[in-house]
Amino acid sequence: MSNLTSLQTQEDVPLQNPGTHYIPPHLPPELEANLLTATDTFGVLNDQWVMEYFGNDYSIAVPILQLFIQEALPEVDELETVLLKYGAQELRKKVHKINPSFKMVGQTDLANALTDLENGCITGESTDKLRFKIKKVQALAQHLRPLILKQYNTISKLA
């Protein structure tokens, strides 16, 4: 967990111009760009999950969301490779492992799509059907990613 420790100790940077978003310095540049165009069409900026899983303690929720953005979210891009290279059983294990993290940070739509994919692996659905479900997860993740980053941007100031 050494990378996490280094992230947690980074200093907050004050807003340069009121009304603009503070962009955390440790996020990859391609993700930072998304922050400026994000809109909350899915209502993901609701932070009910902070109360449910972290007792409204943002000092716990923020590093969890950071780790989610760094570790769990990119795993969505690897799902198809896992299916094609290692098969449905390995895909199921991977989905099973990452799914709770999505719920933990309030991404229930994505978590439900992942559950559907995991169930497809368990019931032996065809590779084509599983690939279709993976595409669905990835499309949803792509849409939500900037909003999740925006949410991180918002709550990191509350920690």
């Binding site: 492992k97 799914n99 709770p100």
Partner: protein, 228 residues
Amino acid sequence: MSTSCIIVEDDKISALHLQRMIEQEPTLMLADTFVSADDALHFLSHEMIDLIFLDIEMPGINGFQLLDQLPYRPFVILTTAKTEYAFTAFQYSVTDYLKKPITLPRFKEAIKKIEPFVAKQKDNHANDIFIRADGKLIRLHNSEICFVEALGDYVKFVTENKNYLSLTTLKSIEEKLNGQMFLKVHRSYIINTKKINDIEDNTVLIGRHVIPISKAHRKLVMDKLNII
């Protein structure tokens, strides 16, 4: 009184979540976090802990296989994303079963549930000591131990039936033994006062063993024993 615990969890985010919740609980003391059951098993073969937060599906051996191989049975709280393991969990007599992601109220409820059991177990263990000897952890009841002798880097536990050599220090053992029953009589000896046959000059006889009482400890020994 704190409850020592470890986390066995291969998902970094779930592990961090648990770590943070444990840090908020004053009764819990996190000893370590393991990403595989194999690593945890290695740790548990050398260390005694009270509680395991245990995931089930992990690379290598799974959570249930870890429980099968444990040298002793701490309290176990299973943490898993699936409810399908509930029946097996019941068969393993785990203390609680938390579905991931774990909500804070549910976590607190599990900790509250476990506290009286841990307190009771610690109370019982005040009469026991676990020692590392012969490559395993061996439980010795206080009443079995006649005396403990320092031998270089080792400590010898002398019981009525068998002796055990353990790589530790007499000081460390002194802290763990029941102070009501055991007494240091020499820098190299701690004796079980219930096992004393007689005391003569500067020696104590326990069974056929003659144990020296040092000048420095003599007064303390005499004060402690119920001498008329």
